[in-house]
């Protein structure tokens, strides 16, 4: 019987993924970088779509939602997982709507008028079975996967529009996207990069080594020197862990300082963020998530070691995503294009 076999194989894969996610936080897991997490999640969701037993779109959504809840709980600080689940849910909704023949546009219009007239949250029950739904959904997820593959390159391609010759660029910590962005620009232009080291983990050191290997003139500064150096900087280019619904950031610790310094000196702050980092969450209090792996354990002292900063949207000049540049005020629009409002809470 192939059926049960498939099922166990699937659950096994899900468990393994959960395990990896769980370990991901300690830095020991095999998942490195959010791009990879996003790809892994989407691939797993495609597998669920293909192998799980479901007869209608509603069933499938329920399955994905259930697994999604577990996945997000396994690593609460990694928002990409939840984002990809929402994207897939949105895909299913769209495909279902298309199979039914109703226009895609009508479904996602969210006007005041509709809110008043429709009454309930949604009258859709997704119970109607369609034979073509499964291949369609898988096809759409494949498209999403291709999109994910190319995100870093798409962002890097825009580098030349933003970095000009002999500019001084500041960045903080290590972001793969920013790294690719700067390296791409360095193929044509000459510029200087200042990297804030981002204590206590000092990912900035790795970043600087990598950049200087690519032939970019690089200087490492301590986090305390950010404000002092800011006056010489032409542009600040940073990565982020998550883009929040209000256009703010949840980024590595020290970014808020950097953003404030940039604001003070009216230096433009550019955020390189692929679309999969866009999360429908708004600011929550719990922005602390910490690794105490590197210090001595003290008994009579409370040590708080926040890993992420919240950066309010007004400090940000521009987002560069794989589909182009956006102002922070435009994030809400991207949000409604990517996710269905009902999926914001999984």
């Amino acid at each position: 019987m192939p059926g049960p076999d498939k099922e166990t194989d699937l659950t096994e894969r899900i468990e393994a993924f959960l395990f990896d996610l769980n370990r991901g936080g300690s830095g020991a897991g095999p998942l490195r970088g959010s791009a990879e997490t996003a790809r892994e999640t989407t691939a797993l969701l495609r597998r669920i779509t293909a192998q799980a037993r479901w007869s209608s779109a509603g069933d499938l959504m329920e399955i994905i939602r259930n697994e999604g809840r577990r996945m997000t709980a396994a690593q609460p600080s990694e928002t990409t997982v939840g984002n990809m689940i929402r994207r897939v849910l949105k895909i299913i909704r769209e495909e279902y709507a298309r199979s039914r023949g109703s226009s895609e546009e009508a479904d996602q219009q969210e006007s005041l008028h509709k809110l008043l007239t429709s009454g309930g949250v949604s009258d859709e029950n997704f119970r109607q079975p369609f034979a073509a739904l499964k291949p369609n959904v898988i096809e759409a997820i494949n498209e999403l996967l291709t999109e994910l593959e190319g995100t870093t390159d798409n962002i890097a391609m825009q580098a030349l529009e933003h970095i000009h010759s002999n500019e001084v660029i500041m960045t903080i910590g290590r972001s793969r996207t920013v790294e690719a962005f700067l390296k791409d620009a360095a193929r044509k232009r000459k510029f200087h990069v200042i990297v804030a080291e981002c204590a206590p983990f000092c990912q900035g050191h790795e970043m600087a080594t990598s950049l200087s290997k690519a032939g970019i003139e690089t200087t490492v500064i301590t986090d305390a020197a950010i404000f002092a150096v800011m006056s010489r900087v032409n542009k600040v280019i940073i990565g982020t862990q998550t883009v929040l619904a209000n256009g703010g950031l949840r980024a590595v610790n020290g970014t808020h300082t950097l953003a404030l310094a940039a604001k003070h000196h009216s230096t433009p702050l550019i955020v390189c963020a692929p679309m999969f980092k866009l999360s429908p969450q708004v600011r929550r209090l719990s922005f602390l998530s910490d690794f105490y792996r590197y210090c001595e354990i003290l008994s009579k002292v409370n040590v708080h070691c926040p890993v992420f900063d919240y950066v309010p949207p007004e400090l940000i000049t521009l987002f560069i995503s794989n589909i182009g540049g956006h102002a922070p005020s435009y994030i809400y629009r991207l949000m409604s294009e990517l996710y269905h409002p009902e999926d914001h809470e999984l």
Partner: protein, 687 residues
Amino acid sequence: MAGKGGKQSRSSSGLSGRKGAGDQEEEEQPLQAVLVADSFNRRFFPVTKDQPRALLPLGNVAMIDYTLEFLTSTGVQETFVFCCWMASKIKEHLLKSKWCRPTSPNTVHIITSEMYRSLGDVLRDVDAKSLVRSDFVLVYGDVVSNVDISQALQEHRHRRKMDKNISVMTMICKESSPGHKSRCEEDDVIVAMDSRSQRILHYHKTQGLKRLQFPVNIFHSGSNEFEIRHDLLDCHISICSPQVAELFTDNFDYQTRNDFVRGILVNEEILGNQIHMHVTKDGYGVRVSNLLMYDSVSSDLVRRWVYPLTPEANFVDQKGRSCTYSRHNVYRGSGVSLGHGSQMEENVLIGCDTSIGANCYISNSVIGNNCTIGDNVNLDHAYIWNNVHIASNVVISQSVVCDKVEVKTGVTLNKQCVLAYNVVIGPDISLPEGTVVSMHHPDEEEDEDDDEFLSDDAEVGHSKDKTKLKAFNPAEVGAEGKGYIWKASSLDDTEDEELVRKNCESEDSEPDDPDDPVIPSPETDDVKVFQMEVLGTLQRGLEENIGFDNLVLEINSLKYAYNITMKEVIQILTSVVLEYPFQQQGPQLTPAQYVALLLPLLKKWAPVFKNYVKRVQDHLDCLSAFEEHFLEQDSHWPAMVKVLMNMYQLEILEEETILRWFSQGATTDKSRQLRKNQGVRTGHTAL
């Protein structure tokens, strides 16, 4: 054997589809672990009377889950859980947990037996059932750790490859300054190790020690760089070779790991086994070995030192047990309700569906699931488990409140109180510091206390009816209270644990004897035993009229058995013979009687002496023992010269050597006096 049987293992199907769990997979053998889910002591008594220690909640998660999570995250693929006390509860817990799901990367086998009395028994069983195939990780079921042991594992394997299985064990230790909260005083050790090879040369528990001794010979071997460290915290995680189990079988007296380590170190030259140590700087690894440790590990856990095993991570993957994490280390489960004006100061963990009344003040506390807490409650360092009802106006500080306890209004629990399962306290009573209240009557226990091997495990007493007759004392537990006071005393700064320990002394197998600390250098001990044996031999020889050559044979074999030098044989023989009359007749002999008794004996044993006392040096040794004997018995100096004369006549001693001994500089006043003694002088001149 009925008791030993019952290998109730449950193997899960197919690990085939699993991918990448670290470097361990490169080895053909999957990494195995032995988890001992029993403490074999009663530190947590009487709490452990109702629930095994491995299942006690720590940050609302059973301790064994932390250990299993640790093992799984280090890449262990097969774990043997050995249970004894309340094995069925542990088994039930594990079968329900995520570890026994078919998809678990770590296959858990549960092995239960009533026969286990110590770690030694468990490992002997591991050997008997030949469960382990290669190196395995040995931990207790109450270890909380996030230490990355992969490096230690690699080093261990490398050593074993290089040195042909000489290294049998690698202990994991964490650097931590003395007096640190996460250090357990009982486990304080001082370790001497070779800094290059990290081989342990000397291992010593230091609790209650004023003086330390290091055998010098440990510094003569191997390299010339040594470290003597006291800043190590034993994580109770060891990487063992399969030989460890065999060694436990061979040495049936090994009970604990401490016995084992000391045994290996003492016999290192004979068996050629070595123990190494891996010192880690980061990571967290502590065994929750008593209530004090429970307090410090809980607070470390809430303060996130054990990341990624934090309370909100929900690593046990239980439904509906997730909680949110917010500033100042405040964790709230789902369905928590907090009354108006209540404050959660810092380091607070509140389980699911717990409701808290108005104007409460909570700090540094862990509260379990489904608890109800009234108004104006003040909790500080309180560990409140599940389904507890706390009424209004209660103050609890630094105490443990177990499942289903009811605390009525106006109760104050001072520091280090323990309310075991189902106790009811109050209303309006204040429990003094260090009170332990349990539904079990302490007398139930005392009946069993005689059994020295009693661990957490022993069967609950049969004296139930007796207990029922005894009424609860309202002066102790309040008007509506239910429970018996186990111990109420004012403690200065000592801990809960201290008092629980005093209460039930049977810290089973591990002999915390006074001789334990200063390792008695094996020689002195052997010499004493040898002396006794020689005495016995001579006595028997006398009684059964055994020929002198047989006596010599016997003494010779004793000499080898106890590894005694020739010099010592002579001295001991002399002193035994000289003491013999005292041994037989008691110390109140007059010199005349003494001589009368001794002389025939000397005559009888002269051939034995002659067999040993041959060279000049032997004579001198014999004489020095002779001198020592009479220095102690100064009232018998008159007899001395006669004995000496007799020995000379029997040709045990020669003239020159006696003269030489006499003329040799006496070292103390007393021995000078002895030589000046009239008798000896005359004897001397007579010669």
